[in-house]
Each structure stands twice: as structure tokens, then as C-alpha cells.
């Protein structure tokens, strides 16, 4: 329904930077997720797309039209908020109807559209209730129905699932993705939850300190991180990052030695390896240390190994058990080792 372009977007409040030089081209019908820690600028960027904040510099373009000077109410976007933002004095029916009334949709269409939207989020039986009489999940679905009822050009969702419990979150995630695919509406979704980002997004935009760190599909972000921030932010547990020295294709750090790496990156580098790409070996692995913690989770065992003053996470077989402080040796999958420049944090390829 709409293509969104952010051209050199910046947001400053006096000396404080909110967003720096954001350039992004969101394709029609695409589902893009802004992912990053609190204060990284993801919500500010979304609010600028909605028209709730004005960029200090740069252009926001929707379908070739510059939107900077256009009021939020005149942009054809619908937003779902973290706190649901349902109007407390209105019933759910009236809440969903509100945008139809504001946009001058003919009255005779209201009932059909409201029931269709409520049906999509399975809320038809609750239309005559006030928001205070609904559970968190029902309120979130009501907020979603209010956003989809008038079929906007763009959906904006600001951490819509963060107030829900884990089970409900998983259910709502599937529902949101299904509705977005069905309605084919360009969607921008903000979250700090990497599982939401990985499962929902066509593309993920990872942000930190107001700047974009990497844009890519979930696979690209996970398997080909651009820097140590992305490598560390994505994955649970995150990627192990070990600072050391590379000399003619051999990486060394206290307790760690990896041979056969590309010889072109000599100097101070950081080696990255994901916990699932580590294998516990009898001995002679790439890393030797002592067992610091063993956490069985049922389907696997999280093993923490202390190497010098650093803790290394390993996803071991679910039957793996070891005594605390016993010796442990770990091998890395050589195809899944990442090398980063220690000073800049950028990936070395």
C-alpha cells in the first residue's frame, strides 16, 4: 500500500541526539522491524514516520510525497501503542469506530467494517465492553482492530506485545504476522525483543545510540553480523566475543587458540562464535577452561565455561552434565567463526 523512504533523518533536542543520519527504504507491503536497546532511537524514528515528532533534518517520503509538513492526522497511518491507548470512556465498538468517524467514512459502512476488524482479531464477543473490562491480551487485540479497521497505508506498532505474558505474546505474534500478510499493509514494528524481530520481520533494522547498525533479513542479521554490537545483541545467549591477537591466521587469547583463519587480519581482533557453534570435546579443543555453570533446560544444557576472567556460553547436548570447576574443552565450528576489529568493532571479512 505504501513505500516509505527515510532520507538522512536526524532528531535532536538541543545538544541531545535522538536519531542520527537514518537512511532507509521500506518497500510496499514490507514488514520491517526496528530492533535495539532502550534509548536507541527506534521509537523516535517511528514517531517521526507517524508525524508525532518532527525530524530536525532530513526527509520522510511516502509514495513519492514528502510528509515532513503533514500533520499526523492527515497521514494515512495507524499506530498501535505499547500501553494499548484505548479510549477508556468508549466501548470497544466505539474505540474501533473512532478512526472511521474521524476519517469521514460513511456511517452505513461502520458496522460492517468494525465487525470485520473485530473478527480478524477474534474480539467479536467483547464489542460492548469498556477497555477496563478486558484482559491485557484482549485490550491489545482491540488496539489492533482499531488500527486495521480503516485499512491504512501504513501500520506502525510500538512494542505492542511487551505488556503481555510469554504465551500470549507468541499467540499475538502469529496473529499480527497473519493479519499483515492478509491485508498486505506496509508495517513498521518497534521492539527490543529479538525473538519478535526474528519471527515477524521481512527485514530487521538494528539501531544503537540513534544510528542504524545493520539492515538485513533475519538470516543475514543472525548469520552475517556487521559488527560486535549486532553480534552481541542477536542470539540468546548472545555470541561469545573473545578479544585477542591474530598472527598469520592464528588467533590467540588466554585459554584460546584457533588456527587456520584467514591471514589477512593480523593485529588486535575479536573472535566471535555463537554458543550453538561450540562443541564440548574431550580435550584438544580451541578453548580450555573450567566449568562455571551448568543449566539444563530440558531440550538442551547451557554450559558456562570460565576462561581467564571471561565467561563463555556453550549450548551442549541436553544430557550433558559436568561438575563445577572441572576442566572443560570446547571446539568451534570453523565455518561459523567471525572476526571483528577490536578497536572499531566492525566485522573483518
Amino acid at each position: 500500500m505504501a513505500r516509505i523512504q527515510l532520507n538522512n533523518i536526524q532528531k535532536r533536542w538541543g545538544a541531545i541526539w535522538g536519531v542520527r543520519d537514518v537512511n532507509l527504504d521500506i518497500a510496499d507491503e514490507e514488514f520491517v522491524v526496528f530492533l535495539g536497546p532502550s534509548g536507541c532511537g527506534k521509537t523516535t524514528t517511528m514517531r517521526m514516520i507517524a508525524g508525532l515528532e518532527e525530524p530536525s533534518e532530513g526527509e520522510i517520503v511516502m509514495d513519492s510525497e514528502v510528509m515532513n509538513e503533514i500533520d499526523a492526522r492527515d497521514r494515512d497511518v495507524a499506530m498501535v501503542f505499547q500501553g494499548y491507548a484505548l479510549y477508556p470512556n468508549m466501548t470497544i465498538y466505539e474505540n474501533i469506530r473512532f478512526p472511521l468517524r474521524m476519517r469521514g467514512v460513511p456511517k452505513e459502512q461502520h458496522d460492517t467494517l468494525i465487525k470485520r476488524a473485530a473478527g480478524l482479531v477474534e474480539l467479536t464477543d467483547y464489542l460492548d465492553r469498556k477497555p477496563s473490562a478486558l484482559s491485557g491480551g484482549q485490550r491489545q487485540r482491540a488496539a489492533l482492530a482499531r488500527a486495521i479497521v480503516r485499512q491504512p497505508h501504513v501500520f506502525l506498532m510500538d512494542e505492542p506485545l511487551s505488556n503481555l505474558d510469554a504465551k500470549l505474546r507468541q499467540h499475538m505474534r502469529v496473529q499480527i504476522k497473519h493479519i499483515q500478510r492478509e491485508l498486505k499493509i506496509t508495517t513498521v514494528y518497534v521492539t527490543h525483543d529479538q525473538i519478535e524481530a526474528m519471527t515477524l520481520a521481512d527485514r530487521i533494522v538494528i539501531m544503537d545510540k540513534g544510528a542504524i547498525q545493520q539492515i538485513g533479513t533475519p538470516d543475514e542479521i543472525y548469520n552475517d553480523p556487521a559488527n560486535t554490537f549486532v553480534a552481541n545483541f542477536i542470539g540468546a545467549p548472545p555470541m561469545n566475543l573473545i578479544a585477542g591477537v591474530m598472527e598469520q591466521g592464528t588467533f590467540t587469547a588466554p585459554g584460546v587458540r584457533v588456527d587456520g583463519l584467514p591471514a589477512k587480519h593480523d593485529g588486535k581482533v575479536t573472535l566471535g562464535v555463537r554458543p550453538e557453534d561450540c562443541t564440548v570435546t574431550a580435550d584438544g579443543g580451541h578453548l580450555s577452561g573450567s566449568v562455571y555453570g551448568v543449566e539444563p533446560t530440558g531440550d538442551m544444557t547451557y554450559l558456562t565455561i570460565k576462561v581467564g576472567d571471561k565467561l563463555i556460553e556453550v549450548k551442549a547436548h541436553r544430557d550433558y552434565r559436568a561438575d563445577l570447576n572441572s576442566d572443560a574443552s570446547v571446539g568451534f565450528d570453523p565455518k561459523r567463526i567471525y572476526i571483528f576489529d577490536t578497536a572499531s568493532g566492525q566485522r573483518l571479512r
Partner: protein, 281 residues
Amino acid sequence: MASARKRSRGESLALRYAILGAWALFCLVPVLWFLSIGLRPRIEIITPQPIYFPTFSLDAWHMIWEDWPMGKYLRNSVLAIIGSVIIDLILAIPAAYSLSRFEYKGRDDIGFYILSTRMMAPAIVAVPIFFLFRNFGLLDTIWALMLIYAAINLSFVTWIIRSYMLDIPKELEDAAKTDGAGELRILWEIIIPAILPGIITASVIAMIFAINEFLFTLLIASTPDAYTMSVALANFTGGSDGVIYNAIALVAFLAFLPVFLVVVLIQKHLSRGLTMGAVKG
């Protein structure tokens, strides 16, 4: 064991009722006292000996309605108070919205200035206000009373409503904006219904202040055309008949009754309103 616990719970409940009943009686005694004075013959009130079984009399009741235009005073009071509250709300709601929601230079100073009008002793402005109203030809009119009550109460009504508006999550307005609503629509359809308990609380407090207002009413109202209940009370305190206590008591009771009834009717909203600003729920 269980029956002992049940009995103890029953005793505790009875004790609670007894304490609350005693407290309610303590609060009600002044009201009942002046009602009882109002419904006694005048002679019984001024006797030095206590009278444990007073005679019921409607002398004062007949006097205030037949010898004095009490209906007119009551009507004047009601009109002036309701008018002043309406004026206050019309002015205070947009002012509070602006003070709580928009960012502009000097906003906080303006807010403090509005509140500071309340810090002035009324006597200081009495004379200028008298001349002002005289020049506008408003002396001795209900309109003047409405304006002066509204002016007196405007600052705190604005301030109370502002504090309620500050408690409304900004997300609600952002949602309404993206839904296509303009500022006035947001104020009318979203903000005002959400702070209704606050508006009711501010209105009731304004009504209580207005009904008790005496100085400016005495200044502006010089004939029964603009007398209110509070000034009417003063009519029974002098003159050749001396102080007519039973009439004073009955008029005081009549002045108290409308506010009491309003408070009883809106009790649910009022208690919510008085606590809403304090605790986020």
C-alpha cells in the same frame, strides 16, 4: 474453633460500625444542632437553661418564606453559583489543556501567575472591583455575582483540572491524532470524558466556595434583587428584632442543603476524583 473465629469477626465488624457511627454522629451534630434550632420557637433558644425536650415550631420557617423573599435569595444563589461554575469550566478546561499539554515559552510562569491570583487577600481588590462593576453597570445583578464567583474560583479550578490532565497518558492523544482527530476533538472526546471525576470535584469545590462567599456579594448586591443566601443570613443579625437565631439556623441549613445533595448524588465520582490525582491506577 471456627465458631469462635466467626464470633470474633462479628465483634470486630460491630466495633467498626460503632466507631464509624460515632464519627458520623460527631460530624453531623452541628448540622442537626442548627436544624433543631431552626425548628424551635425563638423563646426556647435564648433561655439560659438547657431544654432537653424542645418544642417543635415552624415559626422560623414561616418567617423566612413569608416575611422575607427567601425563594428569591435561594434562586439568586443557585443561578449565580451554577453560572459561575459554567464560566469557570468554559475558561479553565482549555486553559488547563494548554498548560498541561503544549510546550511554549513561559508556560510554567503563566500557570503560577494564574494560581497566584488566589494568594491575594480579597479585601485588597474589593474597592477596584466595586468601581469596575459600577462602571459596567453590573452592580446589584446576578451577572456580577456569576462573574465575581467565577473570577475567585477560576485559578484553583484551572489548577485542579490541569493536574488531572497531567495524569492522562500522552499515548491516548497520540492514538487519537493518528486516528485522524484534531486538537479540539481530542479535548472534547478523549480528554474531558477521561477527567470527568476531576471536573466534578473542581466544580463541587467551586460551588462550596461560591455559596460561602460573603464579602463581594455584600459589596455588589445592595437590594434583594441580587441577595444570596449568605447575605440573607446577615439580615437576621441586626435591626429592631435583634438576632433571630432560629431563622439564621434555618437559612444556614437551606444554604447547606443543595451542596449536600449534590455531593450525595455524585459521591462515587467525587471520591474517585479526589483520589485520582494521587494514585496512578
